[in-house]
Symmetry: C2
């Protein structure tokens, strides 16, 4: 018998249970660090029992006393009992579904029921970080056939909540990522909204990149909308650009990401299941998928893009989602900015038709908007581009974006980062390509996305002719230490910017 | 700038850095939970800089104040600065060697230099649990050719310290595990010591089993010997039976085990490299490897055992270790007890030639001792068994064991577990086999190895004829809850004991 103690440590996806080592020694509890522990107690409101499963940390501190059990933030919230309640603790066996993960690791295929059992336990925080890693790597390393991938996708759909809208079509877009900047969503959605298309766009925060759409939109507006507020925003503005994590659309995916992020691994199976389940649960009937292809993008050949596109479309058919794929070119970042604030400035420049607005971001956004307008039948084939350009150049898209921001809750633009350094061109020549992955890493070293004002601002881009010593790009950071780290990384990468004709 | 604060939380293999979320908000530090952080400060003793890398946990508690950085036990010890010292903290990039792990995950082979770089970072606690999991699973899931396995083994040898003894031969033995009980080491080593053979035996604690040799020996004697004390024990008793973890022989392996344990995964590559590097660094010139084969053992066919034996021997040749393999039969546990205390009683019974001592443990130990005596040339071929039996039956082995215990430091035998239940035979018949994995799990559910007195005591074993209702085995536990858990598990496994003729 212990007293419950709230320990305000944020361990993200993992429930951590803190026990004083003296309790273990004195009470013969037979616990060892990292053991899985069940903590339970009586709920005085209804007489029922509430319980959680967590991973054990020993302490010798005043953090918890020997007669207390401490729970990390999420564990305490999930147990739902008052601080000081009487609780009990005992060893807990691993969830049975971990055996399924293990069988997948050894090469067995799983069906929808198996994936559902695994994902339910994941969502209930019954998996430790090590077990989450096992599942992610099992999906990454063991080839998945179509049938298995459909099963995983359906299981992801069924473990989340689902948004529903009365009138089809409901449009959506997604980019598989890997291209820094590239904030087309924030231009495409206003264009579509200006033309009366419903777009309940949910985006993720950065996983391995210096900014996700949710991070960049978060600079301008509140993006943490629960379903109720999202419906209100759609009602008022016809569209939204929000963070999917606040909606519980794919709660398993949100937890798996916490181990995928430190792994810096994006796997195809996980990607297909994750993207399509989120489009489906967001209520979309039609979705356009952007697959950028380039020498340093995630996808590096047209053949690979086509294979991936076919896989996405095959799974989409099984979950009754109309999906089209746009294979786009990526020889470097899209737009000038990399990092939430700098990217948001690009978006505003394009929507405002400002001098110096990034042409590549504008053109790519118009192309994607056009494809969506055509696929939902809003315009005849071939008529999308003109329609999209009218919405942008008339200021209608800017006005629609403002309505979206107002509906979600505007945020004051954060100030520029106080530390800035310029990196010069090492040679004369035409910029042939900019290394997506390395340039993203420069921005991350500078502090993006956690520091929203940090990142990289390109001064020249692919196709430009530069002279040696001319400024190529700026690094923005909130501390000299981070600036130095980013500069050092940039200087150590000879492939960062390639020159040639 | 922060003040250093020791946080007495034991996070085992992982360095955890605690920062108050207010510090992040106020100071624009740009940290996110689970980020990797470098903490450094000046060492007043020599003016140098000391640093550690850790994983960030946010807290909102009094655990650390906004102007403090808290470090978990091992992180604080490794930084080596005083509580209250001035330190700084910044983002740290992942160790470069994680890129090597990632390349292995995608199928590339690694060489000795690459493995050494990875293992050095592992030993320096620069890997998070997620990254440790990546490495373990990369080794588990990607087939390793001989050359790569030799490289891994050599890298493990070079990241540890090495024991050295003046006079060859130095004998050693190892069992690949998977058979509950089976505490032959604690009988074989005294027999060899009685005959004047030097055996610096180092063993592991349980990874996925209800007891390792170090857990069982720990019931009778101190097993946490540093190299200096081990040399003293060898000097006095000619042999030892200690816990390898205290010696730093294979520090990387000791850290990898902290994620392997919750995974409940033993992989062949990891096993070969781990076992052979430990034999080599313990100073052995000759080693006998026991591979038990049985329907529920780790190795289930003679072909598999032979393939594994060939792999062990091929790697052993490359590291200049004389290795022989004993393929033994395992149709169930060896000995009566499963769990540290109950196994220790079996060992004492065999050495004391007590009535009711387990015959299977005695016979297997004699066979293994005989093989070792023959392989090191202490007796002519065919003369080992008789020599070993003389040492055992004359009481010389018991006396040698007592010398080893006295030299290591004797421990009082813990009392029996207070809760005990008997499981009856469900049917009449001859016991054909006992399921190794399930019976081990019964003992683990009962609390072994953390509760040293918990476990299973067989009353009947393979080959015995029993009547329905006759007691088959006992479960020992330190609490009613654990006893119930173990009983429930035992009842839910129809394959636990198989009957037939």
């Amino acid at each position: 018998m212990f007293r419950l103690r709230q320990v305000r440590i944020d361990t993200l996806s993992e429930h951590v249970v803190f026990i004083h080592e003296d309790a273990v020694v004195a009470g013969n509890l037979g616990f060892r660090p990292l053991d899985r522990v069940r903590v339970w107690g009586r709920d005085p409101r209804n007489g029922g029992t509430r319980e959680i499963i967590g991973v054990l940390n020993f302490c010798r501190d005043t953090l918890v006393r020997p007669d207390e059990v401490g729970l990390s933030e999420v564990a305490f919230r999930d147990l739902g009992l008052e601080d000081g309640s009487i609780v009990q603790a005992a060893h807990a066996p691993a969830p049975r579904s971990v055996d399924l993960v293990r069988s997948k690791l050894w090469g067995q295929q799983l069906n929808e029921a198996a994936f559902t059992e695994i994902l339910r336990d994941v969502v209930a925080h019954r998996y430790s970080k090590v077990e989450l890693s096992m599942f992610v790597l099992a999906c990454a390393l063991r080839p998945m056939q179509l049938e298995e991938l459909v099963a995983l996708t359906k299981a992801m759909i069924h473990t989340g909540t689902m948004l529903r809208f009365p009138h089809a079509p409901i449009a959506d877009k997604h980019c598989i990522g890997g291209v820094p900047g590239n904030r087309t969503t924030m231009v495409v959605v206003p264009i579509l909204a200006a033309l009366g298309v419903t777009v309940p766009k949910t985006s993720s925060r950065a996983i391995t990149s210096p900014a996700g759409t949710a991070d960049t939109m978060g600079v301008l507006a509140d993006v943490a909308l629960e379903p109720e507020r999202l419906y209100q925003v759609i009602e008022r503005a016809g569209a939204c650009i929000t963070w999917g994590g606040a909606l519980g659309l794919a709660p398993a995916d949100d937890i798996l990401i916490t181990v995928e992020r430190p792994m810096e691994i994006d796997t195809e199976a996980q990607m297909v299941a994750s993207i399509l389940s989120k489009k489906k649960t967001a209520g979309a009937t039609h979705a356009l998928l952007d697959i950028p292809v380039g020498p340093t993008a995630k996808v590096r050949s047209l053949e690979h893009a086509q294979r991936l596109a076919a896989l996405f479309q095959a799974v989409a058919r099984h979950i009754d989602l109309h999906l089209e794929v746009a294979v786009t070119e990526a020889r470097g970042p899209i737009g000038w900015g990399i990092g939430p604030r700098l990217e948001a400035l690009d978006v505003l420049a394009v929507l405002d038709r400002a001098i110096g607005a990034p042409t590549d971001l504008r053109e790519k956004s118009l192309y994607l908007a056009a494809r969506i307008l055509e696929m939902i039948g809003a315009v005849p084939a071939g008529g999308g581009y003109r329609k999209a350009m009218e919405a942008l150049d008339s200021g209608a898209a800017r006005a629609a974006f403002q309505r979206i921001i107002e509906a979600q809750g505007p945020q004051p633009l954060p100030p520029p980062a106080p530390f800035c350094a310029t990196v010069p061109a090492p040679t004369d020549g035409r910029i042939r390509s900019i290394h997506c992955w390395h340039m993203a890493r420069v921005a991350k070293q500078a502090g993006a996305p956690a520091n929203v004002s940090a990142g990289v601002r390109l001064l020249r881009t692919v196709g430009d002719i530069v002279r040696q010593g001319e400024p190529l790009f700026e690094i923005h950071a909130l501390s000299q230490a981070q600036l130095d780290l980013a500069l050092e990384y940039a200087r150590s990468q000879p492939e960062l910017v390639s020159f040639g004709f």
